[in-house]
Symmetry: C2
Subunit: 116 residues, 2 copies
DNA sequence: CATACCAGTTACCTAAAGGATGCCAGATAT
DNA sequence: ATATCTGGCATCCTTTAGGTAACTGGTATG
């Protein structure tokens, strides 16, 4: 938690950064997609299959957002049938620590809740 | 990002942990509330005012969820007018690292996006 | 006497997220 | 010749998040 000593303005600023992050990774699919792509699933249908259950509409939308946030790179080949190859960017790696912490906490939390 | 070497089952497990975490901190208000309470705002109306804009209905709901997840403690005094005092639990401190990473990343990301 | 405050609850509404289904067009595989 | 694959898009639907406004009952304040 942010230190109680910090001024209100500084804390409000931190909350805004937090909300920026939440905004980028929000929703049901962003992280699963990121992991799937990072694993080596480059094609649209492959990503769809490996995330299990996402519709084309949702996947299409999510990929666009991930691309806008520079976490995924989409190369479109003007062939027929169309070919698109998605990869995670090196910038995507800056999420490593955060994701690791989130995984850690989620794991720990599940145990904590089970102890009720 | 999770290591590409890990098996699919392990990765799926990590995704589930991730989703657990996202589930707990989701929405517009959870983190702002947590910070407000941690700052020392214990009373319902104080929290409402210091988060700026949340309605009683939303705050009531969010506090219940935070309590269920053992991040906030609600002490209800059976007086009249009713008095409730909210505090963050020590367990809430286990979020420190994660939140710090999220703040860091959000800060960095805003700059990154501005470079377009 | 009237008003405002405590901590909510209830009913109602809107916007967004997410899902289901069907379609396109050209190419390849059976 | 028929089916299947490609990366989507259009349409319709349900679910959820979140907001608005009104109200409660007892108490303290003006």
């Amino acid at each position: 938690m942010p230190d109680i000593q910090e001024g209100k303005a500084a804390i409000d600023q931190q909350i805004r950064h937090l909300q920026d992050t939440l905004y980028v990774i929000n929703g049901k699919w962003k992280l699963p997609i990121l992991v799937a792509v990072h694993q080596g699933n480059t094609r649209f249908r492959d990503i769809q299959r490996s995330t299990g259950g996402i519709t084309t509409k949702a996947l299409s939308k999510e990929l666009k957002e991930l691309e806008q946030n520079k976490l995924v790179l989409r190369k479109v080949y003007d062939t027929s049938p169309p070919r698109v190859e998605c990869t995670t960017t090196s910038y995507c790696d800056t999420l490593s620590n955060m994701i690791a912490e989130m995984i850690d906490w989620g794991k720990n939390h599940r145990n904590k809740i089970k102890e009720d």
